[in-house]
Subunit: 147 residues, 2 copies
């Protein structure tokens, strides 16, 4: 697992309201500590849809948020397909028909269940780590005393 990624740093110099700012692919990449390749790949997988200015990709606030959510999902071990499933349905919501919406609710329920399972897993793993930690410190203590 990768290191903890910080909260998105505030857009620096300009007094532009976030909603109007745009980002280049390189900016986003540095911001989230991923490569441009990764960002293009996510687009190819249907997770991002930046507009273009000539050939160049232009990312807006919405895209930045999506990328943030995507990376968070990844840290939690979700596949890109799973993430897309939620993200796309979220976008299709406003004009969604009832069946689509109910399907969405189901998916959300599943995801929530996954998260609960993870919480339990984390709890248990924490305990085990603490245990190993304790033992290791104890062995160390004995080694120190031997000298």
């Amino acid at each position: 697992m990768s290191r903890t990624s910080s909260q998105a740093p505030e857009a620096s110099s300009d007094a532009l309201p976030r909603q109007q700012r745009t980002y280049s692919i390189g900016e986003l990449a540095k911001m989230f500590e991923v490569t441009p390749r990764t960002i293009r790949f996510y687009e190819q997988e249907g997770l991002l849809a930046p507009s273009r200015q000539g050939q160049k990709r232009i990312y807006r606030e919405k895209d930045r948020v999506r990328l943030k959510l995507t990376l968070r999902g990844k840290r939690l071990g979700f596949s890109l397909a799973e993430i897309r499933e939620v993200v796309m349905m979220y976008d299709a919501m406003p004009d969604g028909n009832a069946r689509q919406l109910k399907r969405l609710l189901e998916i959300l329920k599943e995801k929530r269940a996954d998260l609960e399972q993870q919480l339990e897993d984390i709890r248990l793993m924490r305990m085990e780590i603490d245990d190993v930690d304790q033992r290791a410190r104890e062995v160390l203590r004995h080694l120190d005393q031997e000298d």
Copy 2:
């Protein structure tokens, strides 16, 4: 599929204390809902080391616990390499030298940090899921009223 209840094949199979029980690869596989292939693969990757009885693998309680821990780690998105790192150092602990032990403590610290990050990620993702859920239900409510 159905378990034909024949006469008890092996005596005292139930009364065995867990510590003495052994498992076949198939038993473990069903127990954890993975394939035998997966278990063999984990062995090949140095995460399990069952003894043999002739050609067949014999799993003891220790192996079962290891498998459990491994699968939990996987659910949390850790790679097999990461899991092995901890598990193997744990085994090397009793006769470990100081440098090894300190390295282990560092690794544990990292893992703990990962878990904390995950807790935060889960918290945020929960909120977002709740939000999407809310919106979806609201849209549904309106659709129902239209009829």
